[in-house]
């Protein structure tokens, strides 16, 4: 747990403009009040079961495990939840909170579009206005998700400043929030931002790890040797890791996007190749230059293309509880194809980074050992990107 001001060691905190300090404090108080409220929890659990489709399966990827040789690999199937990714766990929670706070308008930022779709989905269901900020480059990369959001009734606002990706969308959403704090709830999609977002989003995503822990004990009869999850902002990874943090024998691996290679500077690996700094309301590891300017990042996966990371990951790295590694675009693509062909599951390019690391890890372990890989989302949204790389026009 962080301290009362939201610090994980030196990371986290609240680094925002004065105008947002009262609204964020109002949010913290509301969250503190409802997180232990039986009615709130009952409604959340009911929504997760009947709307999201939880629990998601823990699937033993037998053929893939056999081919790799070594540990048994289990996939936590977040791709099977409503809207196709883990993002919905969090937006359901935040939207229920927004409703109780009397807010009528949801805003969100999105990279790959999964968080935008999840926010637009819950807004439609609750009858709330919804505006989603998205970098214009990402709008191009993720056209199907943009259309999905519009079908759901959300306004998708293209952001043309800076690198035209997720970080700029986040800046723009913050600006909107400053201007409309009275009626607007900002649904942040990852475990970053000012306190209480990193804790709140983690708590909403921890359902992944709670389920996985029960499921692996039932299926393997033991705790797994390792957990593997991709890390952009880091919400699916924290969601899986958190309920296992006290199980010291379970190794935690967070997989960042090495893009074209860490040495090229064209990556999004803030923990593997960045430095601590302050951005988007928290202190954390950042991809920045020697003057403290935030650098443009690169990843084949729009959802990982972010120069920061959640502050709890920064702390897990410094304390050594979790290990962070990076996987290149090329390796992620290879894993994307491998899982699709061997198991009949098309993974998101984000999740493909975690899958690629599992391909390195599994052969070094024994067959009685288990690895849980978080399959954070499905790859339907990415087929245009993959096809384009292969010179196929759909």
């Amino acid at each position: 747990m962080p301290d009362e001001k939201g610090h994980f060691g030196p990371y986290g905190g609240r680094f925002i403009a004065e105008t947002l300090m009262e609204p964020i404090e109002e949010l913290r108080q509301a969250y503190e009040r409802y997180r232990d409220d039986p009615d709130f929890q009952a409604e959340l659990e009911s929504d997760l079961a009947h709307y999201v489709g939880r629990p998601t399966p823990l699937y033993f990827a037998q053929r893939w495990s056999e081919q790799l040789g070594g540990a048994r690999i289990f996939l936590k199937r977040e791709d099977l939840s409503h809207t196709g990714a883990h993002k919905i766990n969090n937006t359901v929670g935040q939207a229920l909170l927004a409703k109780r706070m009397g807010k009528t308008r949801l805003i969100a930022e999105t990279g790959a579009g999964q968080h935008g779709v999840a926010t637009a989905t819950v807004a439609a269901r609750l009858g709330l206005e919804c505006v989603v900020y998205m970098g214009s480059e990402d709008i191009e990369r993720q056209a199907p998700n943009v259309y999905r959001m519009r079908l759901l009734g959300a306004e998708v606002v293209p952001v043309t400043s800076g690198s035209r990706t997720l970080k700029d969308a986040l800046n723009e959403a913050m600006r909107d929030w400053v201007a409309h704090v009275d009626n607007t709830f900002y649904v942040i999609g990852t475990v970053a931002g000012p306190h209480p977002y990193p804790v709140m989003v983690r708590d909403f995503q921890a359902v992944i790890g709670r389920e996985a822990r029960t499921q692996i004990l039932a299926q393997l009869g033991a705790l797994p040797h390792a957990l593997v999850a991709c890390v952009g902002g880091g919400s699916n990874a924290i969601g899986l890791f958190h309920p296992f943090c006290k199980d010291e024998q379970v190794a935690l691996y967070g997989v960042e996007a090495a893009g074209l290679g860490l040495e090229t500077g064209q990556h999004a690996a803030s923990l593997c190749a960045g430095k601590p700094g302050v951005l988007h309301g928290n202190r954390t590891y950042l991809v920045e230059n020697s003057h403290g300017q935030i650098m443009d990042t690169h990843s084949i996966s729009a959802g990982l293309d972010y120069p920061g990371v959640g502050p709890e990951h920064a702390w897990l790295k410094d304390t050594g509880r979790a290990t962070y590694v990076a996987i290149s675009d090329e390796e992620a693509l290879a894993a994307f194809h491998a899982l699709t062909r061997i198991e009949g599951i098309i993974p998101a390019l984000e999740s493909s980074h975690a899958l690629a690391y599992a391909m390195h890890l599994a052969p070094t372990l024994a067959p009685e050992q288990g690895i849980i890989v978080n399959l954070s989302g499905r790859g339907d949204k990415d087929i245009n990107t993959v096809a384009k790389i292969e010179g196929i026009s759909l």
Partner: protein
């Protein structure tokens, strides 16, 4: 007494209100900034607010964001901004200069190193948009040690408890953000600003400056009738943008705009 406090004391004696122009250092080219600073002083600026360009200026509107992008494209770093202040000081020992920006470029230098260098180069005060009092202690201490004023923002949403806390922590003057929104937003409710400024004055004897939403001479004059200082940013930066392709014209064009605000403020006082 700091250069900022001295300046406000002098203005009070004269019965005048402070005019504080904001420009982004290095916009559109680094060599424009120092001549522009002198031109602004000649046109009636009492204190200069120099923006340190940052890649992600979250609390600023599109006008200042673009200014940051222009300055960064020219490679303007925080160290370059400090060098500009030193160059300005060679000819002007009187006019206070405040740096305004975001925390990350300062983090990279280290708080003590930054404060030391800022003082040596002739900076008088610091305003960091994304550092509320809850996180400010280490940087406040570093600035205090070097005699730099710590200017904090208050917003329409600030509670009485926060107003008290921020007034206790700040020095030089208090900067009231006149609206919920980013810099350069359009709506300015003068009655509402007046109420908030009066409320702030119950908590502090420091001068109160007002910024955000002041776009022309009439709005500058209105705010001057309420506050001790008027901060103008986006309106000037927009003028810089208009002349980005002929930078040699910028000092004259921008200071001409500032002069109309100066005249309106001084005329309003005599009504």
């Amino acid at each position: 007494m700091s250069r900022i406090t001295e300046r406000f004391a002098l203005l009070r004696e004269q019965g005048r209100k402070a005019l504080i122009p904001y420009i982004t250092a290095g916009d559109p080219k680094p060599q424009v900034t120092v001549p522009l600073m002198h031109a602004l002083v000649a046109a009636g600026a009492d204190i200069l607010e120099l923006g340190v360009p940052f890649s992600d200026p979250m609390a600023d509107g599109p006008v200042i964001q673009k200014a940051c992008e222009r300055a960064l494209a020219e490679g303007t770093s925080l160290l370059d901004v400090l060098a500009m202040v030193a160059e300005f000081r060679r000819d002007d020992q009187e006019t206070p200069v405040i740096l305004m920006g975001y925390l990350n470029p300062i983090e990279i230098l280290g708080y003590q190193n930054f404060a030391q260098q800022a003082a040596v180069h002739g900076v008088d005060g610091l305003l960091t948009v994304d550092m509320p009092p809850e996180e400010a202690a280490p940087l406040v201490v570093a600035c205090e040690e070097q005699g730099l004023d710590r200017i904090f923002l208050l917003a329409p949403t600030s509670s009485p408890k926060r107003i008290e806390q921020i007034c206790a922590l700040g020095s030089g003057f208090i900067y009231y953000v006149s609206l919920k929104g980013v810099t350069g937003a359009s709506t300015l409710d003068v009655d509402d600003v007046s109420l908030h400024v009066a409320n702030i004055r119950r908590h502090t004897s420091m001068p109160v400056g007002v910024g955000f939403g002041i776009r022309d001479a009439p709005s500058a004059a209105q705010i001057a009738s309420i506050a001790d200082a008027v901060v103008v940013g986006s309106a000037l930066v927009k003028r810089i943008e208009q002349y980005q392709d002929s930078p040699e014209a910028i000092p004259e064009e921008v200071s001409a705009l500032l002069r109309t605000m100066r005249e309106a403020i001084d005329a309003a006082k005599n009504i």
